[in-house]
Amino acid sequence: MDFILIAVIVLGAIGLIAAVVLFAASKKFAVYEDPRIAHVGEVLPGANCGGCGFPGCSGMADALVKGADAGSLDGLFCPVGGAETMGKVADLLGMAIANSEPMVAVVRCNGTCEHRPRIAEYAGLRTCAAMHACGAGETACGFGCLGCGDCEAACQFDAIKVNPETGIPEVDEEKCTSCGACVKACPRNIIELRKKGPKGRRVFVSCVNKDKGAVSMKACKVSCIGCGKCEKECPFGAITVEGNCSYIDFNKCRLCRKCVTVCPTKAIRDVNFPTPAPAPKPKEPKKEEEAKA
């Protein structure tokens, strides 16, 4: 019996001493962290994707609290959580938040196997970066998509996959969080983050080829030839043609689709519209014009 008593007393004493030491240490060596950081961290999605530009959600929480203290949350946006999460964060920190439009990754190339014939066979390491360093790729277009899937490998949300039939990546709009990883991964800057648009509708030029029109047409049937018809047609001044290639500014575009109608090579694409864009009007015969004049 003595043994049991001695054991209990000894162990109890050790436990007590350890508790006192631990308590003292936790007080003396405590690191102060603003408790708001932990609260904000709980509200954030926890994906640690880096889409906000900070190292993980804890980095973002830190930046948000600092921003709140500085007076504004401008420039801070979590693409995964979206406006809903940002609203919760703003409530927590007692701030107002600017509304940011949802964005989505857009692949600006339509050079599928059907439209863009192969002129060489690539037999090296199958990554876009390696193929880009080797040359123009397997087709005559030195600007177009290489189809090896560096974007697919970079995406952490399974939102972009290369379609094996067309050879071009396709974006799943539900899953895309516009974190920008695929944009950085593409060695040819073909992918761009553009506004998702009302009801997911958007219009963009599906080509980044900067060769002259005759050359790019030989390489790909649906390439932009830089003719400028779209630029003239656009009533909102949203289109500029530079370096033989057209570009639509998504902040100015009002989705009227006049450019889609007028493009001779069908390089401009409209996405998620219920009806196709109207066909171009047939040209009036010249005789009638001269008779009128």
Partner: protein, 335 residues
């Protein structure tokens, strides 16, 4: 004109392949295999055939049904090689069911769980042997005498040179060492009066193993650094001990006995588990040599080679991290 093929440089390749290296090692093992058939007869054939077949079967089955890999790797020769090396570590009277367990451990646990060829941390054959030694100590430490061609499970067992050396150290009596066969006989593998030629399949004839080493060096399958550093270190260390106290056997007996030759030439030089730089390989070899002598003389087991190699396998990633090859341009101008 047909499409041109493009890729980045280089556009030429040497003749070396994984298969050439693996099958080259298997060919280097042939002299020792023939010697083992000659000395241990039926037992050797059964053990070797079972081990090789089991290793190949387990690799095929795991690759196809558990890992569901597209391309089966059994044809690259590494499974056959593991089977042979495992067999060389076993006594010739080991029952088949124990060999199968050893093969499953070697391939399943030590190789495939880590990711297959190229990813294992420990030498698969040695892991198999170590597992069997710990699980079946009695069967794994009864060594048949050589010369019994027709016997398998019924072979008569006897003392090995290593067990004699252990006895001498334990008893403190140097005269026990007189029971050892002459070093020359251990080298060539000739029978003699006393406790000879009992041992595992690959232990008995150092000459056959050295012929294999010469073949591998000629075909540039391995470099000299690891075998020379292991054997050299053991010789020097054992020599110093022998000079200090005759209870320790003379260095020639030490290097020709047990699994030292087999380990130094075939097990420690395994590509995957040895360091990647010549300097690192020498450090690795010296450490294995020291550990082997320490375990043999002062450890519980008579044989220290397998454990020494397994311990150093664990250090290989550390050696790779800190021992870098001499970079071009680090040398200051000579003239």
């Amino acid at each position: 004109m047909e499409k041109l093929i493009v890729s980045l440089s280089p556009h030429a390749h040497g003749t070396d392949t994984v298969e050439r290296n693996m099958y080259g090692v298997i060919i280097a093992l042939m002299p020792a295999l023939l010697v083992s058939f000659f000395y241990f007869g039926l037992g050797s054939v059964v053990v070797t055939a079972t081990s090789v077949a089991a290793c190949v079967f387990f690799e095929w089955a795991i690759s196809k049904y558990i890992l569901k890999q597209e391309r089966n790797t059994i044809m690259d020769g590494s499974a056959i090689l593991t089977g042979l090396l495992l067999a060389f570590n076993l006594p010739s009277n080991l029952p088949i069911w124990i060999i199968l367990i050893g093969a499953l451990f070697a391939i399943g646990v030590a190789k495939m769980t880590f990711g297959g060829l190229g990813n294992n941390l420990f030498n698969p054959a040695l892991v198999g042997r170590a597992a069997l030694l710990v699980a079946f100590p009695a069967q794994m430490t009864s060594w048949p005498q050589a010369g019994q061609i027709g016997s398998y499970l019924d072979a008569e067992t006897g003392a090995t040179p290593l067990s004699v050396m252990k006895e001498a150290i334990k008893s403190g009596d140097a005269s026990v060492l007189e029971k050892l066969p002459e070093s020359l006989h251990m080298f060539i593998g000739l029978p003699s009066d006393s406790a000879f030629g009992a041992g595992s399949l690959g232990e008995v004839c150092a000459l056959a193993l050295l012929i294999g080493l010469a073949f591998m060096l000629w075909k540039k399958i391995i470099t000299w650094h690891i075998p020379v550093s292991i054997i050299g270190t053991v010789f020097v260390f054992a020599g110093l001990l022998h000079l200090a106290n005759p209870v320790y056997a003379n260095p020639f007996s030490v290097i020709f006995s047990g699994g030292l030759m087999l380990g130094a030439i075939f097990m420690a030089t395994d590509y995957v588990t040895s360091p990647m730089t010549p300097k690192g390989q020498i450090i690795y070899g010296v450490a294995i040599g020291i550990l082997t002598v320490v375990i043999r003389n002062w450890g519980a087991y008579p044989e220290g080679m397998s454990f020494a190699i397994l311990i150093m396998n664990a250090f290989t990633p550390l050696i790779n991290n800190y021992v870098k090859p001499k970079r071009f341009g680090e040398v200051p101008a000579k003239n």
